[in-house]
Every structure is written in C-alpha cells, then in structure tokens.
C-alpha cells in the first residue's frame, strides 16, 4: 500500500485551473494532492470580472480563444448552473465608435460559432434600461456571469469527494528532484509551521502568474507576462445584462452584473513579477474606470462603489506588446519532458477563467499519458456539486415544498442543491448578503475555511454593502468556536477588516466613506480593537 505522502499527481496552485485539474484527475481515478499557498481562488481566479465570456470579445482578434470560450460557456451552463447567471450580453456601439466594426464583429462571432444578433438600439434600451441611451448599435450575444469563488470551491469539493487531498495555506518551498526527474515537493504549512515532503510521479504547475516562480524552482523557464487589471465593484446591480463596447478590446469596456453587485473593468498594465503579490489600485485607474464605465451605463457615475481591486493575468509572453492586450488568451500546456527534458513536470497556464475546464482536461490528459492511465475526461458532462438540480428557480422549488425564506433562497443561489444539506441555523451572520449561521457552519465544516477571508470567498460574508461592519464579529465568533482560539479569531478579524479597508480606500468618498467611518466607530471605539 502506498504511503500517506505518496500520490499519483501533485497539483500546485489552488486557483480555478488547479482546482479544475484536481477534479479531473480525481475523477479519472488518480490519487491527487492539491497544494495552495494561501486559500483557493486568491490569485487571478478571484480577481476578475466573473464574466461568462461568450467569446465575442475575442472573435475579431483571436478566433481560437473565441471558439474555446463559446464551447466552455455552453458546458459551464450545464455543469455549473449554480455558479452561472444566464444574463446574456450586449456589445454596444456609441456615437464615437465606428459602426462599421459591428458587421465585422458579427461575422467573426458567427464564424467562431457564437450566436450574435443585431438588435435595434430601442429594443436594447428596453431590455437593459441602464444602458447608455445614446447607443447607435447593439449586438446580443450569449455572455453571462459566473461566480469564480463558487466555481473554484465546487471543483475543489468535487475533487475531495473523488478522494483528492487538499492542503490550503501550505506553500511549496522546494521541488524535489533526482537528476532529470521531479519526484515531489517540500512544503511549509503556514498555519502549523510544519514542514513536509510529498511524492508523486507527476507534478503539475498550475500556479497562474506565480507558476513563473514554481517553474524556476524546478529549474525551467516559463516566460510569463504579468498584466495587471484593475476593477471596481458597485454596491448593487445597475445592469442585468452584461454590457461590452463593440470595438477592439480596450480599457474599462465591460460591465458585468454578478450576484448582488456589478463590476466594471479592466485596465491592462504590465507590472514587474515581484509586485504580483501586492496589487494596489491607483487614483488614475479609478478615474479611468469611472469615466469609461459611465459611457456604458451613465448611472455608474452616481452609484455607490464598494471596492477597487486588481488581479494579474497569467499571460504567456509572445512579443513586445507593452500592455498585453494582444497576447493570446489561448491555453499553454507545457510537458517539460518534451520541452526541457525534465521528467514528471507539467505546466498548465495562459487561458482564462472561462477555459479552466479545458485547461484541466489538457493537463490531465498529459498526466494520464505519463502515468499510463487510459481514462477519458468526464468533466464536461458531470454536474459539479450544487448544480445537480438545475438553475436557481428550479433548485429552490425542488428543495422546499413551502415557500423558501429569503436566506434560504440566498443560500440556494450560492450553493445550489447543496442548500438542502445546510442546517437552518439560528440567524443571519451577514445581513447584506443574507448568509445564515447554518451556511457559515456548513462552509467551516466542508469547504476548507481557516479564516474570515476564506469564509468570505465561500459564502460572500463581508462582501455586501457594509463590507464586514455587521458580520465580521459574528463570523469571527463562529470561527473561534470551531478552532477554539479567541486570540487567533481576534487577529483574524483585525486582518479581515484591514483587508476590507484596503479595497475601500481607493474609492473612499460619499456613502462609502460614511460607512467606513461608521465601521471604524464600531470596531475601534465600541469593540476596542
């Protein structure tokens, strides 16, 4: 029998690519270890638009990516219905844009297999009242929104249900090698301080932009191009249909409704690799996002902003494009044995949130080939945990015979069919997002939650209008009860509130500033932190 630290495959990186690869490998019967330095979905996986791309955005410039997007789009609607909101999207033409581009755009969409219908501007205004009333053209495409945190958590959960072991808050400190073969990894557990060694014939580098450093650790080079993208979150859904600009991809030209909020983005600037761990949004970026955003939906100019944040796209270097806008979003799967003569090491990178499943499939195919396993990928056909009962409305009808309460509906919106396993709880933890104590308890027990920030990613606790003002102390109490250390919970709460402030600071004016001040009274003056 294999030792407890021996696996078939080790996956480094708990973003969507790593979680998806862990699921695929585990479903194909491999013994899987997934290692994540922080929490799942902390990197680019959790720092994006949450756009369920139809592929239309890339249709003109990158047909391959566009085709991948629409195929995966249709798959995710089936397998991840509880993470997907089927909103559709508009590509609008403003008076300053070239309307001739529309014809080229529609033709490119259709050749990539993307449904694209030109609709009357009047009809567009009726369907989406928030859209800029000055539009001179609109094309409707099957865009949508996808919750990346939920998607990541569901993939991780399914991997675990298929026997995978998941280590979060555990950093790979060394790639263990013997000659030209990678044997495994050495890790440091950031919670316990414990150092361990893990072995597997195949190690997959799914570290996103940080895969650059992981590859270096293994002694190979993957030329990454870190492109920072900044985004703003507004306090409620201004739009219910995704709004894009019908022109060559540029800054701040996508507005996505996601859960209770909407998100405008992005910018694109090359940043040094060393800065990838600490992204800050500048006032210039905020200005640009607001100015350009208000062109999509004028109401954004007067809507309360909740946060500003930035992620780093894991683009793979191609040419001397200073912004990275022209680099393909295509998938890069490197078998380092073929490429560099390093056995047992695979890098899966490039791609996008949309194509994570396909990336996982490609990486798993290579791993299976190396391991001599002949099993086909089934991830495109098997619903993720939570998506078994279909969409939101169907799910609530199937779970509860009586009309569901608001928090039950909110739980079902987030967790899909898993809501049936969630205890009633004694009350609400997060009032803005209607997260019950039962849902928090479920997340703590099943979804690898070690801190308030982890909890936020699983449940939306602290993501609402008050940004933790009312819920952080309640949730900290529940975490303290689970791990039994009040001091650790207090420290966690301080870090959580500081992290919330980091996101509020670049946009701290008006109501947001009032809310911050009120939060400050509560935490500093009432609770005495």
């Amino acid at each position: 029998m294999a030792k407890s630290n021996e696996f078939d495959v080790i996956i480094i990186g708990g973003g969507i690519t790593g979680a998806g690869t862990a699921r695929d490998c585990a479903m194909r019967g491999l013994k899987v270890l997934l290692i994540e330095r922080h929490d799942i979905a902390t990197g680019a996986s959790g720092r994006n638009h949450g756009l369920l791309h139809s592929g239309a955005r890339y249709a003109v410039t990158d047909q391959e990516s566009a085709t991948e997007c629409i195929e995966e789009n249709m798959i995710l609607r089936r397998i991840a219905s509880h993470c997907v909101d089927e909103t559709d999207g508009f590509f609008i033409t403003l008076p300053e844009d070239d309307l001739d581009y529309q014809a080229k755009f529609v033709e490119s969409c259709r050749s990539a297999g993307i449904r694209a219908d030109i609709i009357d501007p009047e009809e567009a205004r009726r369907l989406e009242p928030s859209v800029n009333p000055d539009i001179i053209g609109a094309v409707r495409v099957p865009d949508g929104s996808v919750d990346p945190f939920r998607l990541c958590a569901a993939n991780m959960l399914d991997a675990k249900l298929h026997g995978a072991k998941v280590l979060v808050h555990t950093e790979v400190t060394e790639i263990l090698k013997e000659g030209d073969r990678v044997l495994g990894v050495r890790t440091l557990d950031h919670v316990t301080g414990e150092k361990s060694e893990w072995y597997a014939p195949v190690t997959i580098n799914a570290g996103g932009i940080w895969g650059h450093g992981i590859a270096e650790m293994a002694g190979v080079q993957v030329g990454m191009f870190p492109a920072k993208g900044a985004l703003l979150i507004f306090a409620h859904r201004v739009n219910n249909i995704v709004i894009n600009r019908c022109r060559k991809p540029a800054n701040a030209d996508i507005l996505v409704p996601g859960d209770t909020v909407c998100i405008i983005g992005t910018t694109s600037t090359r940043v040094p690799y060393e800065e990838c761990d600490n992204m800050k949004v500048t006032p210039e970026e905020v200005d640009l996002l607001l100015t350009e955003g208000a062109k999509l939906a004028p109401a954004l100019a007067t809507t309360r902003i909740l946060r500003a944040y930035a992620g780093v796209r894991p683009l793979v270097s191609a040419d001397n494009d200073p912004t990275g806008r022209n680099i393909s979003r295509g998938i890069v799967c490197l078998d380092h044995e073929e490429r560099d003569g390093l056995k047992g090491f695979i890098t899966i990178t490039g791609g996008k949130l949309m194509t994570y499943r396909l990336m996982a499939e490609k990486a798993t195919d290579v791993a299976c080939r190396k391991l001599g396993v002949d099993r086909h990928c089934a991830t495109a056909l098997t619903p993720l945990p939570g998506s078994e009962l279909g969409g939101f409305e169907e799910t609530i009808k199937k779970i509860w015979t009586m009309p569901a309460t608001t928090y039950q509906k909110a739980t079902a919106f987030r967790t899909g069919s898993s809501a049936k396993d969630i205890e009633k709880g004694v009350g609400l933890v997060c009032e803005c997002e209607e997260v019950s104590s039962g849902e928090v308890d479920y997340a703590i027990r099943n979804l690898e939650v070690h801190s308030l920030t982890d909890l936020r990613r699983r449940t939306r606790v602290g993501m609402g209008t008050c940004q933790g003002e009312l819920c952080a102390c309640r949730a900290a109490g529940m975490l303290a009860a689970s791990h039994g250390c009040a001091e650790r919970a207090r420290k966690d709460m301080r870090e959580f509130m500081n992290e919330r402030w980091k996101g509020s600071r670049p946009i701290a004016w008006g109501d947001t500033l009032r809310e911050c001040e009120f939060t400050n009274w509560i935490y500093n003056h009432v609770l005495g932190l």
Binding site: A235, P257, A299, T303, R304, E393, G464, E469, G510
Partner: protein, 415 residues
C-alpha cells in the same frame, strides 16, 4: 448642501449605513417574528430583488407603512417607500375580496349610506361579525365605523354652501371618506371653526378617496386613478389661489408624499398648498392674522396621540400647540407610539393579535393618564383607541369647535 444631495442617486437605498436604528424603532418587529424588519425588507432586500425578483418576500405585507423607520433614519433613506414599491412591483398575491372591500372606502360608503341604519345594525350583530370573521377574515373583535344616513357632501349642499358666499377669504376642504360617509360631524365642526375665523369653505369639484387603503392592499392602479382625479381637482382650486385643508393626517400624508413617491403622480404644483387644518389655524393665529376666543366654561383633560403619519410629516406640533392654547385644557402629550391599527391592517384577522400587541404601550399610557378625552388627527387611530381603551377620541378640530366661543371669535376676526 447635504452629503445626500451630492452623492444621492436614484438608488436612495444605497445611503443606508446599516446602523439598524429603523429596525430598533419598527413597531412590528417585536410582535411579529415573520416580519424581517425595515432594514432587511427595505434597503437590504432591494439589492437582492435587483439581482433576482424571486427574492421578493411576501412577508413584506406585514409592514404597517407607519413610516417610523423613515422618521428615525439618520441617512434619509425612504425605507418604507422602498418596501411599498417592492410590494407594488413584485408581489404575486392578488388582493382578496376582503382586501378589496376594506380598501374601497368610497364605493362601500356610497352603497351603505342610503341604508345606514340597517347596515349599521347588521354590521354590529354578533352573528355578522362571526360570519365576517369566518368567511372574509375580518377580525370579529372589530366593529366597522358606523355609516351616516346623510353624507357630509349632502349636508354641506343643503345647509352650509349658501352661507359660504358671505366670506371673502376662502379655503377648500378635502373631507375624505370618513367625514363623508361615517362622521359628517367632524366636517361640520370644521366648517363651524373656519366660519368663526372669517373664512368660507368650498368643496372640491370632484373628490375621491385619497387611496391609502388601496395602496396598502396592493391595488396601486386603482389608487393612481383616484390620485389623478384628486390631483386635478386640487390643482384647479390651488390655481385660484386657495389652500386645501384636511382633517385627516393620513389623507394629507398620502396625497403629499405617497402620490409622488409611490404612485408617481407629480404634485409639486400643489403639495405645499395642502395642509392639515390644525397647521393652517395654528399658523394663522401664531402670526396674529386670526384670533381664537374660547369659552370660559370649557374645561377638559386632554391627552394627545400623534398618529404615525403626522409624526412623519413633522406636524404634530401644530395640533398640540393649538390644543394648548385653550385655557381650560390640561394637556398631556402621550409618548410617541404606533396604535397598531394602520388603516385596514388591524381589521384583518391575521393581523389582529400583532395590531393589539403593537398598541399595548399606547393603551397603557392612556390608561395611566386617564384623560377626559384623547385627541388625535387620524380616524383609524380613533377606532383603535376607542375599541381598545374605551376612552373617547376626538379630532382637535372638533375640540376647537366645542371650546370656541364662535360668536366672539367671529366678531374678533371680522374687524
């Protein structure tokens, strides 16, 4: 300029700071655990409803629309408007026959008036109450206000109209359904007081129920129809330079604030010309323009209850100051608390217990003061307090009519 004016958007709910003072002050929250409270039902719920209308919660019907949440909100959020708008926009439940009957004060009044003695007799029978309780779910503890055999409008035409021509100064009177069908005496008292002040009264060309009961029973379209008719009739007299006075705080509040906010009827042209009679009289006396001379013999211990909608208007002060002007009055201002009836709300069987639990503090307060009479500007508060405490409730205008020496007052205002 306030921060709200600078940052304010169409989405007033975003100004909520989550301080929760609205929920702390909501009279329903402590007595009905099924009601999520104004913060959850209002600004918090609105975000969820914008994400998916499935998040509309039928429990929003438990809101009294007393507007106390709006009075206490330090951020100026129109909490109750958000809740009522959500009910109008999303509620799937259609008004029941019972709700339609309760809400159609105008129609029921016109139907019942000619047969008033019979209708009143039948409505007060135990067996009728039991049947209405069982069949219509109108609580058996409630007694419908009695219908009058002659409407106020009828009386006015027959007895008062001609005399009004003698006055140079005029006001228009929006009497409301209660005065017209149930209690013309209040209207008569109003005319008496106005005439004593040297002011003639005219009625609107067309007057419909203000619509408050329709709004709260999910019949906003019917309410908007009435609102449009009233708005037209009021505009017409306001254009002539008249003010429109009322003797019901709820009709006043509905027409001033709910018409534009909930029914989207623009009333900017006449909003500030529509006043509760007590405010008009107080201001006229306070500025020295008019004089009030009271009977020496009038003595009463009066306890004043501020109706929720008057609290929201911020006009309770006019009624209380006016009553305090009466030399023979020993005045007590009751603690601000909702009586629990909220128009038709308390008539519904499912709300009876909550309604009485909400009013309990007020009833106890009244009992401890033990006044000769309770004064109040709202007719539904009057029914609730009379039924629940046994104390007599009078509109301040009726008290004035009783306490004024009309001849001396008329003389003082003639010169």
């Amino acid at each position: 300029m306030t921060l709200q004016e600078i940052t304010g958007s169409a989405h007033n709910f975003e100004e909520c700071m989550k301080c929760t003072v609205c929920t702390a002050y909501c009279p329903v929250v402590p007595v009905n655990p099924r009601y999520p409270g104004p913060k959850q039902a209002g600004p918090d719920g609105e975000r969820l409803r914008l994400k998916n209308p499935e998040f509309f919660d039928e429990a929003l019907k438990y809101c009294l629309n007393c507007k106390r949440c709006e009075v206490v909100c330090p951020s100026g959020v129109n909490v109750a408007d958000i809740i009522q708008e959500a009910r109008i926009r999303y509620s799937q439940s259609k008004p029941k026959l019972r709700d339609k009957i309760l809400a159609s004060t105008d129609t029921m009044g016109s139907l019942a008036r000619p047969f008033a003695p019979v209708v009143n007799g039948v409505l007060s029978l135990g067996v009728t109450k039991a049947m209405m309780d069982g069949v219509l779910a109108v609580d058996k503890h409630r007694t419908f206000p009695k219908y009058s055999s002659e409407s106020f409008e009828g009386w006015f035409k027959r007895k008062a109209k001609a005399a009004q021509d003698a006055f140079k100064e005029k006001v228009a009177y929006f009497h409301g359904c209660y005065v017209n069908y149930n209690y013309p005496q209040l209207g008569k008292d109003f005319v008496k007081v106005m005439n004593a002040l040297g002011i003639g009264v005219e009625l609107l060309d067309k007057e419909k129920c203000c619509g408050v009961a329709m709004i709260s029973n999910g019949m906003s379209k019917a309410a908007a129809k009435n609102a449009a008719i009233n708005s037209g009739a009021i505009s017409k007299v306001v254009e002539k330079g008249l003010r429109v006075l009322t003797t019901s705080s709820t009709c006043t509040f509905t027409m001033r604030d709910e018409y534009p906010e909930l029914l989207h009827i623009d009333n900017a042209a006449w909003k500030n010309s529509l006043l509760l009679a007590t405010r008009f009289i107080y201001e006229a006396v306070d500025s020295g323009r008019k004089k009030l001379i009271f009977k020496d013999s009038y003595k009463a211990r009066i306890a004043y209850h501020t109706p929720c909608h008057l609290e929201k208007l911020g006009w309770g002060v006019f009624s209380t100051r006016l009553l305090k002007m009466i030399p023979g009055v020993e005045f007590t201002l009751l603690d601000s608390a909702c009586c629990g009836i909220a128009g038709t709300y308390g008539f519904k069987k499912e709300n009876y217990e909550a309604s009485q639990a909400i009013g309990k503090a007020l009833f106890e307060d009244i009992a401890s003061v033990a006044p000769d009479v309770v004064a109040c500007d709202c007719e539904t508060c009057k029914w609730q307090i009379e039924m629940s405490t046994g104390y007599k409730v009078m509109n301040p205008v009726s008290i004035l009519a009783e306490a004024l020496d009309t001849e001396l007052t008329a003389e003082a205002n003639r010169s």
